[in-house]
């Protein structure tokens, strides 16, 4: 009889306990996963290096500057600070992608929540006890972003409207709306610049003792653990997984699809909103028009590389935090725009899909993306290598 292999990964928590015959053995299997996660990044760095050469820069110096700017002499703390919004957005994306729903409106959701927080924070932290105001602001941010997903969520739940389009449109609207709010009701009256009032330093999130890292990072890590637990161990997480793997089966086994879709969207938005709160209350203290860090754009490939597993995404995010913090500095030194990072990210995504294809030809069933996201699941099972 054919030997079947278990898939150790986000899809099958049960499998981890049992010892089952695998074609390659557990150690080789783990090595295989590592290779397929790291090689795309390496390839992208090489390709990016070539592009740098073409533009007349020295890639080695550039990458060395990244290390310097990202890790050395205390910069690691700046990298760690960046992990806060990255992790929370990654959590928001992981939840929704597991359900095979494409929430691509993360930029707008983030920005609108950030605007709301920046707008209300000065008043709230002034009038209320600080801890209470902080919690309230976090909830406000989460609620704002969650509500902003409601239109795409309902359209998809009721009419099956393609959410890629609706979330993108809402995102563009949100970016403009945020500008209007910042110039309008949230505008800091004491300055002609289009920005909100700056939160006094002592009212912002406290730091972890001995460091500059604000506690928003701890909030992010806590969220990662909670989300991981919910997704892999609870009945709700299983429902999400089924929705992502096979929506028809979800309906068949009695899962209420419209409700699940909407809740998944709201959860995703809420986490993204938390990211905005952490960033504003922990790092920036205010917001101005024209600011759009587009964090989500840059961490999407890592969410996939981690195979939608929250624990696995942490090291990737750590790596990227260093890359992005150091990258800003390196780009400045080289006279390049920071948009260069977008190129690297795009390359990582491309190499990731190629490596996935090559890996698929060797073995069946392994995948970076949960089967529901990668609609070509049927293809590798039947693309047999002729004996």
């Amino acid at each position: 009889m054919t030997t079947t292999r278990t898939i150790v990964g986000p899809e099958a928590p049960l499998a981890a306990d049992l010892h089952l015959p695998t074609k390659y053995g557990r150690a080789e299997h783990v090595l295989d996963i590592l290779i397929r996660s790291i090689v795309p990044i390496l390839l992208a760095l090489v390709a990016g290096g070539l592009l740098l050469l073409a533009l007349g820069h020295n890639p080695l110096i550039f990458y060395r500057d990244i290390w310097r700017g990202g890790v050395e002499s205390g910069s690691w703390q700046d990298s760690a600070i960046r992990m806060a919004p990255f992790l929370l957005i990654a959590a928001g994306l992981t939840v929704i992608f597991r359900a095979n729903i494409w929430n691509l409106g993360y930029n707008g959701q983030f920005l609108l929540a950030a605007a709301l927080v920046s707008g209300y924070a000065p008043a709230l932290v002034g009038d209320l006890p600080l801890w209470f105001a902080t919690v309230l602001l976090f909830l406000l941010a989460g609620a704002t972003a969650a509500l902003w997903t409601l239109v795409p969520a309902v359209l998809k739940a009721r009419y099956g409207t393609n959410e890629i389009i609706t979330t993108l449109m809402m995102s563009f609207i949100a970016i403009d709306l945020a500008s209007i709010l910042i110039k309008g009701p949230f505008h800091d009256p004491t300055t002609p610049l289009p920005q909100t009032e700056v939160i006094p330093l002592e009212k912002m999130l406290p730091s972890i003792p001995g460091t500059r890292i604000h506690v928003g990072v701890l909030v992010a890590f806590a969220a990662v653990l909670v989300v991981h637990f919910v997704l892999t161990r609870t009945s709700w997480g299983l429902r999400i997984q089924i929705l992502g793997a096979n929506p028809r089966a979800a309906r068949h086994v009695g899962i209420k699809l419209p409700r699940l879709i909407i809740v998944a969207f709201l959860t995703s938005g809420f986490l993204i909103g938390l990211a905005a709160a952490a960033d504003i209350l922990g790092l920036w203290g205010y917001i101005r028009t024209g600011w759009n860090p587009a964090y989500g754009d840059t961490i999407i490939p890592f969410v996939f590389l981690a195979r939608l597993n929250m624990l696995a995404v942490v090291p990737f995010i750590a790596f990227f935090s260093i890359l992005s913090t150091g990258g800003d500095l390196a780009a400045q030194q080289a006279g390049l725009p920071t948009d260069f990072l977008l190129v690297l990210v795009g390359l990582i995504l491309l190499f990731m899909t190629v490596i996935e294809y090559l890996g698929r030809r060797r073995e069946l069933g392994e995948s970076y993306l949960s089967p529901g996201l990668r609609q070509a699941l049927r293809a590798p099972i039947l693309r047999r290598r002729e004996a």
């Binding site: 049960l14 068949h252 086994v253």
Partner: protein, 533 residues
């Protein structure tokens, strides 16, 4: 059975064809010859390798070894396009017509000689071919609106469009009414007269006997028997049947010998045990109207009653409302009008999960698309309809030990062949997936179970097991509603048979002598009322 017109060089000859897939030898050194003017039946149970062989002939697959000779010349059939150019046309089991396009557009597809579509020429050719076959086809109807019989006729025309001499029909009768099968026979006869070579795949013995001039029998990838035209004409039906069954199953013949697929004629109501008189009605539909989906019709003003201990069948040509009916009962579809009652209580708006708790179950026909979640382990699949419930979940948390323990018990009880309960469900064979679904639906105290095409595509042994389970359910006080397009199956298993035609319930027939003909008539649309008038 007509004598073949041409006994010279066969148009197509397969010699020593071998094809391997990972883990299975689908075709093992098969020899086959197709002569002009002859219907060659390829007989074998599901999984014997028939589809693979046909795939090779139609250019979808390439053989690992062996030769193909066309008119005596060694040829390679490299792609479907090559097959068409050689003159081999295929009528697939599931319609390859594009539903949103018209008949004419479907027929014009692939004719890339000129940029501009030649609609006039196409219409003419359609007329010619339709006359040839003795059928009528409207070129401007959308494929989605055609009846299944008409669809098949268009498929045959499409296969002949570019002048094919060889016609492959893959399980063509699986979707037809008994009368439709007769009409198909007439069409094939006309084609034979013109010298076409026809190869006809089926797993039903009586079809092979009635329609074939020559029979080749496949078993587990090998050609195990061939019946020449002379023997087919001279020997008696019973003798032929006995020999074929022996060839197909060897020593195991006796065990499966009762299967309706292996009888020389259609079987009617051999094993019927109707429920006791005065039994309660457990499931009732009152004037239910519900929408269809895509190409499938919905149901219109359907009323039926299922009694305790009864096996009620629902017959009908595919797409006439079966899925709508099944899903309305299960709770996956909301009726626009009418009510569904379970034990007398209205459950019309009750969600799926609640109905399951009341003992209502649904074994879906779409095993892989809807029944199981492929990437999940077998164990979890067995309890998908109890997500969040004790003892498998406590306070929302998964209890792995409980799941594995109970899953192992079920796997043993239902004889599911799987390396372990943690194996991904998608890797199981079709028969074992069906067993998983049955294990899921028939555990935890089922009372009313809807079976949709429960034995479709399964080998004879598993088919027997499934039917035993259905009988066991009814015998033990439960009730079964069996929705199937396979009339043989319904006649074998059901106490009464209801007939769905174009979404309406046109009659209910008690199983027994003459039931097949009655059902066939109802499927054509003649309702009881019309006949009484």
């Amino acid at each position: 059975m007509n004598a073949p017109n041409d006994t010279g060089v066969p148009i197509v000859q397969l010699v020593g064809i071998t094809k391997r897939f990972p883990g299975v030898l689908a075709n093992d050194r098969i020899d086959l010859a197709l002569h002009g003017g002859e219907v060659h039946c390829l007989l074998g149970e599901n999984g014997a390798g028939k589809s693979t062989l046909i795939g090779i002939l139609s250019g979808l697959l390439r053989p690992d070894a062996g030769t193909i000779l066309i008119d005596g010349v060694e040829t390679t059939i490299a792609s479907p396009r090559a097959a068409l150019e050689i003159g081999v046309g295929t009528v697939p089991q599931h319609s390859a017509l594009i539903p949103a396009l018209t008949v004419l557009q479907n027929l014009m597809l692939g004719d890339n000689r000129r940029l501009r579509l030649d609609a006039t020429g196409a219409r003419q050719r359609l007329g010619e071919l339709a006359d040839l076959l003795g059928v009528e086809v409207d070129p401007d109807t959308k494929a989605i609106d055609l009846s299944l019989g008409n669809q098949q006729q268009v498929e045959i025309i499409k296969a002949l469009w570019r002048g094919s001499r060889v016609l492959i029909l893959d399980e063509p009768t699986s979707m037809l009414t008994p009368q439709g099968v007769e009409e198909l026979g007439k069409v094939l006869a006309r084609l034979k007269e013109r010298g076409h070579a026809i190869i006809f795949i089926t797993h039903k013995l009586h079809e092979a006997l009635s329609l074939g001039d020559r029979i080749s029998i496949l078993r587990q990838g090998r050609l195990v028997g061939a019946i020449e035209p002379d023997s087919l004409r001279s020997a008696s039906a019973e003798d032929l049947r006995a020999e074929i069954v022996r060839t197909m199953f060897g020593e195991a013949a006796r065990a499966v010998s009762d299967a309706p697929e292996l009888q020389e004629e259609v079987v009617e109501g051999l094993h019927v045990e109707p429920p006791a008189v005065g039994a309660d009605t457990v499931l009732e539909l009152q004037h239910v109207t519900a929408p269809g989906e895509g190409a499938e019709l919905g149901i219109d003003d359907v009323s039926l009653e299922l009694k305790e201990g009864e096996i009620l069948g629902v017959a009908g040509v595919d797409g006439n409302g079966q899925r709508s009916l099944a899903e309305v009962i299960a709770g996956q579809r909301t009726p626009a009008r009418g009510d569904v009652l379970l034990y007398g209580a209205r459950v019309t708006r009750l969600p799926v999960a609640s109905r399951q708790k009341l003992g209502l179950r649904y074994v879906t026909d779409d095993r892989i698309g809807e029944g199981i979640v492929g990437p999940l382990p077998v164990g979890l699949n067995l309890f998908l309809k109890r997500i969040g419930q004790r003892p498998f979940w406590r306070h929302g948390r998964l209890q792995r030990a409980a799941v594995n323990r109970r899953a192992a018990e079920l796997v043993r009880e239902f004889d599911v062949r799987t390396p372990s309960v943690s194996t991904r469900a998608a890797t199981l064979s079709g028969g074992n997936i069906q067993k998983v679904l049955l294990a899921r639906e028939l555990s935890f105290d089922p009372k009313v179970v809807v079976f949709h095409k429960p034995t479709y595509g399964l080998d004879v042994r598993t088919t027997g097991t499934v039917r035993e389970l259905i009988r066991g359910l009814a015998g033990g006080g439960g009730s079964a509603l069996v929705v199937s397009t396979d009339l043989d199956e319904l006649l074998e298993v059901c106490d009464r048979i209801a007939v769905l035609s174009r979404g309406r319930l046109v009659g209910v027939v008690g199983n027994g002598q003459g039931a097949a003909e009655e059902v066939g008539r109802l499927m054509l649309g003649e309702s009881d009322a019309e006949r009484a008038a």
